[in-house]
Every structure is written in C-alpha cells, then in structure tokens.
Symmetry: C2
C-alpha cells in the first residue's frame, strides 16, 4: 500500500521505507521541547491502532536499553536543529539494534539528520523568525507520520480528514490569538510578578503544558514551573493551592477533558480567579477541523497562542526570551 | 510452570491466575504516590523482558481507552487504602475489556480490592505507624510481580537473587539512615526556609523523586516542587538554576546513573553547595543486595530515608505532615 500523495512528501518518503506490517513497537524519542510533541503522538497512536509504543527522553532510552527494541521497532526521533547529542546518539543506538529510524529536523545535514534512516523536515519560526503555517510544523508532521503508519499497518485510513484539518489549523490559530488576547492582556501583569507558575493538562494537551513549563517559563523566563497532569493534581500537588498560587490550565477537546474540567473546578474553588488562567478550547472557532481531530490539534493552538502570553510576560519582566538564557547554547556542558 | 514458593503468597496466588504466555501487554495503573512505584516497575520489566508496557494515571487510562487493551492484557494497579476512586474505576474498566487485573492494596475489602481479579497485599507504616520490613512494601511486592511474570512468560528466572536482595533491604535501609543522617541534619535548616525544592533523578529512581516531590513536599509541606528527569534538566529546566535554587538529586545505581552524574556536575558548577542535596547510593553499604538489583532497590532506600529529612523540615517549619493537609481526605472533591 502506498500513502496518499496528500501527505507531506517527506512523510511519504520516510514511511515508504518502513515495512509497517512488520513493525511491532514504536519508540518516540527526543529531549525537552521536541520530547513534548511525542506525548500527543503516542496519545493519537494509542487511540487509533493496537500498537504498543513508548515515549522516552533520548538519554534515558539509550541507558535503559529496552529489550523490546529490535529490527521490528520503528523509532521516531525529533531534534529541531538536529544537533541534540542525546538524540543523535539514540538514533545511532537504535540502528545498531536493527530498528528503522525516522528523524524530524529542520536540518537533514545535522548529526541527527545523518544518523537516521529517513529524515522528515518541518518548519519552525524559531530559527528564521518568519511565521510559518502550522500545517508545516513538527506537530503536523508527526501526526501525519502516526496516521500514515496507522493506515499502512492496517488501521483506518484517516488521511483526508487529517489533511483537511491541518489545512484549517493556521486560520484557527489566527482566530484563537484574537479570542485569547483579552485574557492574556489581563493576566500578564499579575503573572509577570510570580515566582512559580504551574501548567496543568491531560491527554493530547499534556505535551503542550510540559513544553510551556520547561522550555518557556523555566528556560526563557527563569520562572519556577512544571507541568502537572490534571488528575495527578488531586493526588498531592493540589495541596499547594491557595489564593496566591498560580496556574495555567489547558482545557482541550480530547477524551480526557473531564479530568481538566475537574481540575478547573477545584482551582476556582480554592484559588484566586486572577491567578488561574484557563485556556478553554470550547471558546475557539475551529471551523474546518474535523471533530475527530479537534482534541489532537488544539494543543498546537494552545502552544502557539501561549507564546504571545510569554512575550508579554517577558516584556513586563524585562527578561528577554531566547537571548535571556544563561546556559543553553552559551557554554559547554 | 509454578512460581517458586520463595515469593510472597499473594504474588504467587495472583500470578497463578495469569496465563503469562498469553499476555502481550502490561499496563501499570495508579494515581499519585501509588503511580510512582509503577515507573520503576516498568523500568525493571523493560530491562528483563521483551514485553510492551505502559504507565498511566488511572483516570487518564480510562479516558484514553488505549486500543491495545484487551483480554491479552495484564493490568497491575495499586491503591494503598484501595479507596482511590479513579483506580477502582480503572480496574472495572480493564475487566470490561477482558484484561486480567491485579491490585496491590492494604485492604482486600476496599472498592479497588473488590474490583480486581486478584489482590496482592503489602504493608505500609503509613496507616499503622508501626515500622515495617521493606521486603513487605509495595515496591517489594510489585518487583516480585514483575520478575515472577518475567519468569512465567519465558524470561530468566531471577527469583532467588531477588528474594535474597529483598531480605537484605531493610538492614541496608537501617544503615542508610545512619549514612545520610549528617547530610539531613546539615541541609534541613536551609531547605526548611525554601519555597521551591526540585527533585532530580532518572531510570529506576525517577518514581521516588516524583513521589517525594508531589506527595511529601507539595502535599504535606506545601512547598512548590516537581520531579525533573535528570536529562530533561538540560533541555529547559536548568535555566532556573542559580545560587539560591534548591535541588535534591538522587544518584542511583541503575544504567542511567551517568545522566544523574551529569546533572550533579552541572548543579554544583552553578548552584550553591548548601542548596544541592545529593543522595548518592555509592556511599551506601548494600551488603546482601545482588549487584543486578542494586539499581532497582536503592530508590526504596532513597524514599525511606528521605521521610526522615521531611520530618526534620516539617518540625522546623512547624507544619505537620499528614495532619497538615488542607484538602486531601478533609473534604469532598
């Protein structure tokens, strides 16, 4: 079976090199922000195919050396620049075990690009500063990889609704900026003064919460943070909640939304409304995005729009975003 | 094949009800502190058997409804009191899919105890206040479940070295209290004044770091916290590090130790020594614990000894541990 040409050519080429019916395990492997997209990728795979998978930090993956990894494994990696040493090493390690490797990166000539069997390119505003269309983002490409693999492995072929939905994504993001702008405007001054801001989500949105916590708040603003799973919240973390504590809650549209609803209720019961920023996907105009993929795609909307919130906070804190880092890409470690 | 009688009778009984050769997936399902033991359980399974597995928060598990879950699944759950609603629901859900369920709990008559096919008991000082032998703890029982299952499923039979190692565990913990006491004594006054304390670990120790962060520091001391994976640390979180920021680093003996070593080096390069508490398993006398299980068992030593540190902090903060909670088991939510 060949993949429909509606898919990105890089995705088609990569998956044409995979004997999907022979694959018995998928490993999603990366670090940091690139690892964050692996959580929603696994979420999508879990719900669409009877296929086991794991999400591992790249260094953990190599050191752990799961026995399951072999020539019937598909290992999907991501490193934006392709220079992440742990991820390049993980690709090389996976190949020594006979696994098929696909690497998402902006740079096919990078160490990770060279280390994998197949490269899938994507676009990111990060390096060029030029706005991209979200249908060309790492999220969009990995979702194509997952559903393309699902189709090839004998699952349902959902190509057309996915492609159509991705086409409708950027306009939905553009509208979401407008929808969320008043909230960002009113919450930024208070949040800019905080030392600790937690993010909360579940299901497909957990990765976006994780990424915003560790790559934006911690890395670029030196604000203490971490992502709390919306149900784990009730099993310890909620005890820190008082009128001063500060949370960003992502309420998505996937099947775990009731978990986020419950967290929302508790946060507003004991927290202060001005310290609880809730991004609710139900308030968005998602025209053109197929109902079955709304849960998968709203995390991109959350993450994209939250950047604007982050820049507002950065301005108020007078702490530059990328240039404000003290260690990352500034010294050897 | 029958399991050797050296195993706990509950473990033997539970696994005798499992047709191990028919199982093709293991789900480890729980919430909060009980979820924390599932991470090292999966770590052990990953390294000893070619068997896919997942670790899920119980509510996420049900809402996600992984397609993989079926009558060839083994679902291992844990709830100390057995009253955790999400976990009891997860057990019931798994059974509707035909999966075999094993529940670890102190109370076989509890809702979760009633909801599973097989109950495995354990002991915890939590409810009775009476010290236990660590060989009877939830960790010890789940490790027996994992390696018993490995043996039954056709993997190596490591019963004897595991049982011998568990016998040697409590004496090792008792010695570790003495080893770590001077560190706890000297770090407690400083840590008691902190608003944010991160825990850092990888591999088999990640669960202990997670549990100490969310169930002890956040839940019982209202100190902001979260567990950071030792390699993820370098992909965002490390930017919060300065001379004031506060970390507890667990350096275990499993194959991911180099990740923790690297975090140690960086923490001491840019942090203040008085704010970085390192528990290094290499300083411990682990006589009687088989070399191949030291990595798996030191997390119990970390967690057990860290309770003493927590009580020291609680005393200095004049904030009671269990009685100091404001929401958990105090109101309906």
């Amino acid at each position: 079976m060949l993949l429909p040409s509606a898919y990105d050519p890089g995705v088609v080429a990569a998956l044409s090199g995979v004997d999907a019916k022979q694959i018995r395990h998928v490993f999603f492997v990366a670090c940091g922000g690139s690892l964050s997209i692996m959580h929603p990728a696994k979420f999508m795979l879990d719900q669409h195919l009877d296929m086991p998978s794991d999400v591992y930090n790249a260094a953990e993956f190599v050191a752990r050396a799961p026995r399951r990894l072999d020539q019937q494994s598909l290992v999907i990696l991501c490193s934006m620049t392709g220079t992440t040493k742990e991820t390049a090493s993980a690709a090389a390690y996976a190949r020594t075990k006979g696994a098929v490797t696909i690497g998402l990166t902006l740079d096919a000539k990078s160490p990770m690009g060279q280390a994998v069997d197949h490269v899938v390119g994507f676009e990111a505003p990060y390096t060029t500063g030029v706005p991209i269309d979200a249908k060309d983002s790492n999220y969009a490409r990995i979702y194509q990889l997952v559903l393309g693999f699902v189709a090839l492995a004998g699952g349902e072929d959902l190509t057309q609704p996915l492609i159509d939905s991705l086409q409708a994504l950027q306009p939905a993001i553009d509208r979401a900026h407008t929808t969320f702008a008043p909230q960002f405007e009113s919450y930024a001054p208070g949040f800019a003064k905080k030392d600790v801001i937690y993010t909360v989500a579940s299901g497909a949105s957990y990765g976006a919460a994780y990424s915003f916590a560790i790559c934006v708040l911690m890395e670029m603003q030196w604000i203490n943070s971490h992502a709390i799973h919306a149900n784990e919240f009730f099993h310890g973390p909620f005890e820190v909640l008082d009128k001063d504590s500060t949370f960003i809650l992502l309420k998505g549209l996937d099947s775990t939304r009731p978990l986020e609803d419950r967290a929302d209720e508790f946060l507003h019961r004991f927290g202060a409304v001005e310290n609880i920023l809730v991004l609710d996907a139900e308030t968005l105009d998602l025209t053109g995005i197929d109902a079955q993929f709304r849960g998968n795609l709203v995390p991109l909307i959350f993450f994209d729009t939250l950047w604007r919130f982050a820049y507002k906070i950065a301005e108020l804190r007078q702490h530059e975003m990328l240039e404000g880092r003290r260690y990352m890409k500034k010294l050897a470690y």
